[in-house]
Symmetry: D2
């Protein structure tokens, strides 16, 4: 992956937005790699993602600092909510896990293979099951027990670890604890969860048991951003698998594991590639 920058924009829809952004990038000599826009006409919102080469090794390096300063008044004029990311600054990520390790193992393996553009700074768990895996992949592992009585205390310890590690994104890889509202508020767009169900069906615990009882012919899994309202955050990705009368609850759970791995890893990758824009309880995913 060569050096590149990504600009993400959300703002009220109005004429001239693309012209303003692309004109400024052209003035700075940007070599655009990808660009995508979207309008939500009902919400009156405009979304844009543009990615360009920085060429930091070459003579014609793009002056990202100067561009950032020049772009500020444009962002202000159009009332833009904008983010500017450069690939050289790799996001620092924490993975939370409990006892089901399939998503955890999958993320660590993908990270090792170079599929995920981030540094996994640490793993945090209320159990010790994941410790050996973390150690194998060279990820610092922290056991933070969380009994009902000491939840606030445990979260305080988590906050300390996350801040010390400079973590921007938290991935709940089948972490079986509900985050406190305070936790969610601290990381307003930075917690991704996998729900082992096709939301909004089978909200809550033991969804595969509920699906089996209902006799569905498809089961699903959903990855989403975490909000204070449980299981109601913006959906990032969903996928399904076919089941039949032959599948018992344990078969549904096994098929579900494959779905959970896939929808969670896609969500994490898209977030890291700066492809996701959140608004309300929805997402725009620029592919």
């Amino acid at each position: 992956m060569n050096d590149s920058a990504v600009l993400l924009i959300t703002c009220p829809d109005q004429k001239g937005l693309v012209a303003a952004v692309s004109g400024e990038l052209y003035r700075f000599g940007a070599n655009i790699i990808h660009a995508d826009q979207h309008q939500d006409h009902d919400a009156g919102l405009f979304f844009m993602r543009v990615e360009w080469a920085l060429g930091s090794e070459s003579k014609q390096a793009f002056d990202i600092q100067a561009f950032s300063e020049a772009f500020a008044p444009i962002a202000k004029r159009y009332n833009m909510d904008s983010q500017l990311h450069v690939s050289a600054i790799r996001p620092r990520v924490a993975v939370f896990v409990s006892q089901h390790l399939h998503c955890f193992a999958d993320l660590l393996h993908r990270h090792q293979m170079g599929e995920l553009e981030c540094d996994i700074a640490l793993a945090i768990s209320n159990h010790t099951d994941g410790e050996a895996l973390a150690k194998f992949y060279g990820i610092p592992f922290h056991h933070v027990p969380l009994a009902a009585a000491n939840k606030a205390e445990g979260e305080a310890r988590q906050f300390g670890l996350l801040e010390a590690a400079g973590v921007e994104l938290i991935v709940l890889a089948r972490y079986m604890q509900i985050l406190s509202p305070e936790f969610v508020r601290r990381y307003p767009s930075g917690v991704i969860n996998v729900h082992h169900s096709f939301l909004p069906a089978f909200i809550g615990a033991r969804p595969y048991h509920a699906a089996h009882k209902r006799g569905v012919k498809l089961i699903g899994a959903t990855s989403h951003y975490v909000t204070e309202e449980l299981d109601d955050g913006p959906i990032i990705e969903q996928d399904v698998a076919r089941v039949s009368h032959r599948d018992q609850v344990e078969d549904l759970i096994a098929k579900g594991r494959d779905l959970e791995r896939v929808v969670l890893s896609r969500a994490v990758k898209w977030h890291l590639d700066r492809r996701i824009l959140r608004y309300g309880n929805k997402t725009v995913i620029f592919d």
Copy 2:
């Protein structure tokens, strides 16, 4: 399709069931084409479907009458709920439709092409939109208006038409009226509906609007048997289609039409091929 018979069995699970059924078929010289069994261990139930050639044109024609009589005591001994169908007796079907004609057109075309082993005896609608299509395919069309005030009267007229036509299966091809409990009781295993949603998510009216509002990444459709409890009947088939932030409600509706056609036509075909066994609010589908 050659002449064949299908025996469907549901009974308490116990040893010797397959031996008893297959032994009796062997004694009568049956040439088995397909056989399939299933046990629901939690419910303690056994399900079986066996299909064999009748060879009614040949000298060694299978004596279905004699077999039926010989099988009765076996069915009684094992407390079986059994059905015996022969392909020569084609089920008579009624299709109910309102103003959305895509499922209706699809079923009539498939029927004309020979995909559905039945006679479509009549079409009934609370509107006249479907009349031209029915006429084109040579299906008698009956317009039975159903205002809130005359619902019982309208249903009485429907019962008359259905009985006169000897109808066994009723297909609700986007029929936008709720059947009365009396109607459902009259056809205890003979009404198939398509719900334009991935049940149990988005139960009720305007599911595509609800799905769009929730920002889901997949939409679905479900075909099911109709029970007195709305949208809670045994699910026969489900399918999904991928959607993105670019899809407006009307796009979801258009993609949904394709799903509805597919899940409804599969359900009707499987029912006609005697592949479905209902129990509780579930189905066994022998493929």
Copy 3:
């Protein structure tokens, strides 16, 4: 659907393209509805699709004529291959069909429901099987027999019909004749075919028999533009269905019909919505 215009651009990739196009549109006060770009870095090509409202009923109607003239020098400067379409001018389409009518019936029904933004000017067939369907949907039907000996003569008659009807797009809806090279050259980007197979597997006739013989677990269908090289034109859409050892050749054919309908109708819709850009033997599909 409101009045709108679509501009499609293919050109050598270079800096400033988006700025130039969006700047000009802004100068004319365009209210952009959708915009999408793509770069093929290997081929060094840039692709763009932009759609904006014309508001022809309002006071601020977009002056499409003036824009077209103002854009010509920009197109020239950047060596663009560009097309400008307005929704008020509906494409005129011819559907070719032989004896398998499922795709034909599907397209006519979708057209009647308003899913396809075009006028189906006529249907042409080397058989008469489709005549009743065409008549029912009010589409002029022409029977043009094509024996091996009179192929050139038959095509000459087809050309006459197509030109008289002002046809821009030809849809081969399971038309079982191979077009002559001359035919293909006359409609260089205007013939869409459905191949009843997952190209490039099972090229040629009787692909479902070949798939059954090979014991595949998935079958597919492909829609593509027709080029002089048979079955090698740019792929527009593909889809698959799962099959098992239980599926006989006739089951594969039936499942294949459902796939063919879906992939052909999507291709036609995307072409009519001006979402497809061809280059080499590939397509860019802006969704």
Copy 4:
């Protein structure tokens, strides 16, 4: 998983087969858990899989030895090719891997989680990349270099390792070497491979490059038994993923890795669960 036995039968189709098998099982008091049959009418073959509880801990333990002896004359009479497996004897498996470790890591993790009913006796590789993973999961790892010049010698060493370990099934988890005909003959139904393509399209090396060049809209992967004819063995499982013009070759490769993991692990699981019957270059998969 409780103690159980599986009987797999392939034989010429004839009357009375199910009655003979189920009658004998009944005579021995078998408590049948699953049973499934299939006829290939073209090939004139009958296939059956029946699974029953052994209850070896209880007083009414099924006498598998006596049944095996009693069944022999039945198998002979009907000219059956039959296999009798008991769950207590876990198959011993060897995994072959080269440098791409995603399938290897996936299988080892699934095995550790108890998804695969086998003992992974050893891993063999022509590289050392997989050694750390094997060690982490406690699997003996053998590095057997295979240069063109010493292929026979290397295979001889492999045979020694496989025989010493009592291996029944060999899984090629992206093993980038072609097995010699002698190797294939030694393990006539015991080598499963994953082909990183949707067979029979893109046979051979670098299929994702070929798929990208062709502009396909779906890519696939295939798991199959290995035969002497390369890439032409009986297909066990296939799956596909959607791709677009935005996907570069490296994106196809990444999506392909996810497909490869899924189709290979399903094939291995089904083989271990004794759900697969091979015949000719096809498979029957009892689900």
